[in-house]
Each structure stands twice: as structure tokens, then as C-alpha cells.
Amino acid sequence: MSGVQSPEPATVPAPKPAGTAAPPSEGKRIVREIMSGSAMVSVLAVVVALVIGGLLIAVTDQRVVAAAGYFFAQPGDLFSAMWTAVSQAYGALWRGATYDPTARTWLGQLGIFETLTFATPLILSGLAVTLAFRAGLFNIGAKGQIIMGAVFAGAVGFGMDLPPVIHLLAVIIAGAIGGAIWGGIAGVLKAKTGAHEVIVTIMLNYIAASLVLYLLKNQLKAPGSTNPISPPMHENALFPLLLGPNFRLHAGFILAVLAVVGVAWLLDRSTLGFEFRAIGANPSAAQTAGMLVSRGYILVMLISGALSGLAGVTQLSGTSKSLDADIAGSIGFDAITVALLGRSTPWGTFFAALLFGAFKAGGTSMAVNANVSIDIVLVVQSLIVLFIAAPPLVRSIFRIKAAKSEGARA
């Protein structure tokens, strides 16, 4: 443009390069990749974890150690000792979790029902994590929500006297409300102030844990007891046993299956689930299309919290029957693993919860019958998390190609 003087180019507002799609934060991207990994990665993660767990069983076994002492004399002995140790341990685990014809009691023979019992709260709280994740939120607060669900359920369950059926329904609703409140706090803070849900839910876990202890020492304490434990739930507030008094399996399992069906419908078929998924996959596009992102965050955390609250109800009204400070146990955090392993789909979460229920049911049998520490189950579970959290690791072990290739577009 000769002969023409250009004035100063624009400096305000700060120019940004054309077409830069603000990339999602690295952390979000990694969590998303982990949560949406293929079913194959989940299965292989379990396989690899079991193999490594087997090696640990073998090297800590007395007979294997003994056979290793004369390895060069008779190498075959070592391998047969290893095989015996591992097959005995896993055999006991499998039988304990499913069917063991050698056991003396019905309960011992049909471990499958123990598996389902253990799986029940894991299914519900796993669904809570799954649902929140699909809306883009990482709900670490299942533990706190389980506790608060149990507190509300307990207040109704041993604090009130209601007719059969109605009492149980009231307990279920109270538990859902308790969890929903606890989840909702995180949702509201996220929506209104942008407070990160991971931090808020972790902190709410601590608050719930302390709060329940306080209540158990004061308002909710069983009369005459010196321990922080509540009075037992009323008979009417308990889940009916599904298979008679010989088994612990209770109607809470049916509630959990219904929840799976419900969440599957919510995510795949409902308009609300469409909103959740859109918000989770791309909040800016959801907002531009007229969805209210902050309303979505609050709603999904309410529902997610309610699901965890129901997990608390099944623990209280189905298994423990009175409230103590350890009502949530490790369920709150196993829920995250279960959702991870289930690739944040409702049915995936269901089967992952069954697997973890089986670990719990079979772990005892393994400890008793094969004399292997129950901690090995914890090791296997932790290894599963490790391998799922590191999909490239599993892929490289099995030489699976990544689903999406890097920057193929020019």
C-alpha cells in the first residue's frame, strides 16, 4: 500500500491467532481418555492385574520358596509349586465368589449371592460416579454422599415408627435426599462459583465423616451404648431378604438393577440425559445451543448424590442394619474404580461392580482355604486401577493400536 500510511494496528483487545480452538485442559483430556477407553482395555487390565497378582501369590508361597532353593537340581518342582499355589488361590477365590460344592453351609456353597450382596452398594455408587462423569464432572464424593444418605435413612429407619412397605419407602426416599443434598452442594458451588467439584467433593467427604461421628456420639447414639453406634433399624425399615434367612442377599439388589436401567434410560433416551452428555462432552457448544450448563451441573450432582445416597441405604437397611461411622467403608472409592472399569456406561458399571463384589466375596474364601493373604485382592484391585489409568501401558503390552491417531489432519 505505497503512499498510504497505516495507523497503528490494533492492540486492544489482545488479538488471538485465528482458529485456535482452546484445547481442553490436559487433566480433563486424560480423565476423558481413561473414562472412555475401550471395553478391551478394561478386560485386559483385569487380566494383566490377575497375572501379576498370581506372580505375587507364587513368590510369597512357602512351597514355592522352598522349591526355589533347589531350583537347579529340579527346576520342574519350582514351576509345579508355583502353579499349585496360584491355581489354589484363584480357584478358592473363584469358588468363594460363585459356587463351591465342598462348603458345609448353603451360604458357603453359593458364594454368588454374597457377590451380589457386596456388589449392590458398588453398583449404585458406581452409577453415581458414572452419571456425573458423563456430564463432565468427576464426583469423588461418593463416600460423603453414602454417609449422608445413610444418616438420613437411619434417622427415618430407627427414629420413626411406620407401617411396613411405607417405612422402607420412606427410608429409601430419605436416603436419596440425604445423598442428593450432599452432591447438590458440590453442584451448586460448581455452577455458581466455579469451585472445582473434585476438591469440593473430597472436602465434603471429610465433613460427612466427621459429622456422622458427631451425630453417633450425640443425637443418633443407641441408648445405653458407649460406642458410637446407632440403634438398630426397625424391622419395617429393612430390605426383605430375597432368598430366605440363609443368605444375606436383599431387595436392595433389585433397587440397584432398577437404578442401572433408569440411568441407562436417562443417559441414552431422555432429553435431560442428552443435555448432560452434551454438557459433559462440550459445555461451550451446549451453552451456544441454548442449554443451561450451570443448571445441568446442579441437576446431575443432585441425581448422582441421590444414587450414592441409595448405596448408603442398601448398606444400612440391607447389610449392617445399624449406623456406624464406617458405614461407607471403602465403597466410596471403589465406586470410582468401578465406574472407571465400566468405562462410565451404566451396564459396564454394573458388571464392574459384580467383579468387585466377587473379589470381596471370594477374598475371604481365598484367605481361609488357600491361606493367601486377603490383601492380594487389594493388590489386584489396585493394579486394575493402575492399568486402566494408563491405557497406553496396556496397549503397549498387548500391542493394540490407539483408536485415534494423533493429528492426522493437516
Binding site: G3, V4, P7, P13, T271, A278, K401, A410
Partner: protein, 531 residues
Amino acid sequence: MKRVDLVKLELKGITKSFGALVANDHIDLVVESGEIHSLLGENGAGKSTLMNVLYGLYQPTAGEILIDDKPVKFSGPSDAMAAGIGMVHQHFMLVPVFTVAENVALGGESTTFGGVLDLEATRKKIRDISARYGFAVDPDALVEDLPVGVQQRVEIIKALVRNARILILDEPTAVLTPQETDELMDIMGQLKASGTSIVFISHKLREVKAVSDRITVIRRGKVVGTADPGASTTELAAMMVGRSVSLTLNKADAQPGEETFKVTNLIVSNDAGQRLVNDVTFSVAQGEILAVAGVQGNGQTELTEAVLGLHKHVQGSITLDGKQLLGLGVRQVLRAGVGFVPEDRQVDGLVESFSIAENLILDLYDKKEFSRGGTLNRAAIAKNAEAKVAEFDVRTQSAQDHVGTLSGGNQQKVVLARELARPLKLFIASQPTRGVDVGSIEFLHKRIVAERDVGTPVIIVSTELDEVLELADRIAVLYAGKLMGIVPGKSSRELLGLMMAGLTADDAAAQLAAAGAPVVRDPSTEEGEPA
């Protein structure tokens, strides 16, 4: 600095595949020393992949790179730099809060005793290079305070300081005003004169013709031919697309009706209270296209966000058919009859992990047609998708495929299909053809003009001057959030360029008149251009 060591670059049979996708298929390319070699191709043709191979970011699946007839292997950009190859990326690789000198030194810092950073040597080099090529870059300026054009020069300096003898410029003009583009072309000429070879990547035919010594055209990962800059734009476009394309849009003159959309004294501020759109007033009539031109980041984004209800701090008035839109939520604005194509479709327009069918109902999923009692009607959604895919010629295997698997042009067709599905009272399209292949541009432009011809007021926001000139009935130019004026669609590039650089319409016209340059385009001398 001695710069007489001439260098010849040769790529032989370069193939790069990602899984089943072959991004580069046996590409041969020779860049003679001291020539400007343009790589012309559509988005997704494989230009950037090829340059990333050359720069050591990707390892080629097959083929070799020769420098001065000696084969070389790059395992990373540092190898490429050591071999004298420098690259200026489309998105600058600068640290905004660092000074120019700190950015240039980054990665090759020299330290004095005790590990203290020594920037003096770098400052001197920057001053030398600036003086040599007339860059006017202050080594101590903060990069974030610099205009885009100057930031780009910092990138070039970074390469030159590392003794680059071959400079790769990846779509360097995408972020520049017409004047800045001219300045860049001057710089390229000087670099060439001093013996630097340049690989210039672009999809803009006019620029390629103006600056190149030779042109290599790439389509779908293959070299489809070379041309010299004398070739006509229609020939080049045909090589690029693989069929003859009509580069000029034959649109009838606008028949403007009533002015139904009015923006009055609009002020949009950021959280800090800085005005991003500063007291803008304009109106759009039914049946006309108003194009909002300007360099990226001068308030266009905020203007459209304010209309849609996406922005928090907005004052003034925005009315459609007399109804106040300001203060309404996004959904209410959309349901009032506003169709909106956001400037970045991947961020704001589409959910990439959703299917095409789901994206087509992203703002209509709760309407009666697609859901009942909170349950989605899958059959209706699938049927709608089939119809839209056919109507908008979206190239896909199935409407259930993820939108992320589509090319840019086809993604944009999905956005347009969705936004034009409702009866509209206002249609706003931001950067409607950014990153879109030439073949799709033609289609998208026709649809936009068709929407105008049914009597909808249309606003196009574009930083591509070619596109503005192609579509606009009237042109509004924004600079630093202020409206520099609204001029007729036939205004000259020179006039718009001056307005985009911050002169009001009157001042710009006066300056042009003084210099004897045209204020209005002469259609007989303009060759058709794809935007």
C-alpha cells in the same frame, strides 16, 4: 552473520500414515536454494503433516529428506533446526508474558558464570536482524503487547537467529490484515534475496500467485502437479480441488426490505471493565447481507456473543422485530428466530463425540418433533438426520457417525443445516468458511445467499476479506471494538484495509483519494477468488 551458504532441499517419496489413514503418499518436492516454493492445497490435503515431517515432529513412514543431496534424518525439531530448517507455525509458539529477547533465547539460552541468563547477545542479534530486514522489533517488548503481525516477525527472528536457511511458513497470512500481508510478502522477498529458501503454505490463491517462484499442489496427500505463478487462479483451484470450481458467486442484487434487526449503542465489556465492543450502532434489513469485517480480535466475537445472550456485561439495545433481545437467555434468543453459526464450530458449534444426528438436534432436542415427555424420539431424530445429510450434501457413511470424523467443510454443513432448519428472523454466521475446503465453500455461500433471498436479515462475520467482498451487500468494519463505518459491498480492498487498520470510512476515503487509489472496486480488473 554470513548468509551466502545456499542450500537445496529435497523430499523424496515421503509417506506418512496414521493407522489406515495415509496423510502423505509418496510426496516428492524440491526446493532450490533461494526460491519461494508454495505448497498449495486444501485443509486436510496433508500440507501441515508434510511440513511436520520435514521439521522432525513426525517420523516419515517411508521416504527420505535430502539437504544439499545428502540424506538427513531428524528425530526432533532440534535436529531440523541444526540442519538449518526453521518453522513459523500457524499458531505462534511464543510465551506471551516473556519479552521478545526471552522468547528468542528460549531453548538456546546462553548463561554467564553461575547460571545467570545472558540476554545481551540475543538482544544484539535481534537488533541486527531487525535492522537488516526493517523489522522494527524491540527486543525488550513483552510479546503479549505486540500486534499479531509483529509477533509473527518474532517467530521469523527466532528461526533466523538459529541460522535457518530454509524457512517454513505455515499459513502465515491467516491472522494478518491486508496491509500486514503485504508487509510479510516484502519480508519474504528480502529473505529470498539474502539466500534463504522459503516454503510457503497457503490455500489462498492470490497470495500464492503473488509471492511464489514455484507452486506445488497437493491433494489428498499426493502431489497432483506443479505450476508456475503465471497459472490462472481457476487452473490452480481446479488442481487443488480436483474438479473445476466456480470461483465467483453469481448472486442477484439485494432487495432490502424493512430494517428489522437493530443494534443501538452496544457496549460489551470484559470482567475488568475494558470495552471490547464500544458504542456500536447498526441495523440490518430483511433480504440483505451485512458483513462485519475486521482483523481477528477486534470485537467481532463479543458482538455476536452479545446478540446471542452469551455475554455477561452488555449495555445498549438489541432489537429484533421491535422485541428486545438483550437480557434474554440463549435459548430464548434462538427461539425468537435467530440462527447462529459460531466462529469456532469445534468449540461452540458441535459436540464432536456426538453423532451427526445428535448434533443436528442440539438446540431442538426438547421440541415436540424430537421428544415426548422427556424421552427422545430416536426414529424422528434419525429421519431428520437422513433428510439433512441429503439436503446439505454432508459426505459421510452414516448419519450415526461421530461429527468429529467429518472434514471441516462437512462439519460446517452440519452446523448450517441445523441452524437453517428453523424459520429464521435473523441469521448470523461467524467465519462461515474458516478451515473449509473450496468445494464446500461454494455450497455454503450459496446457502447463505439463499437465506438472504427468502428475506432473512443476514450478518456475516469474517476476517477473510475475499469472503466479505464475495457475500456482502454492505460492509461494517470493526477496529478495537469501534465501528469504523459501514460502506457499500463494492468498496475497494484498499479502503477496507485502511478501515481494518483503524481509520474511519471518511478518513480512509480521503487518504485514498489523496493517493489516487480507488475507493470502489472495479469488477472488470478483479479476477475471481475463492474466499
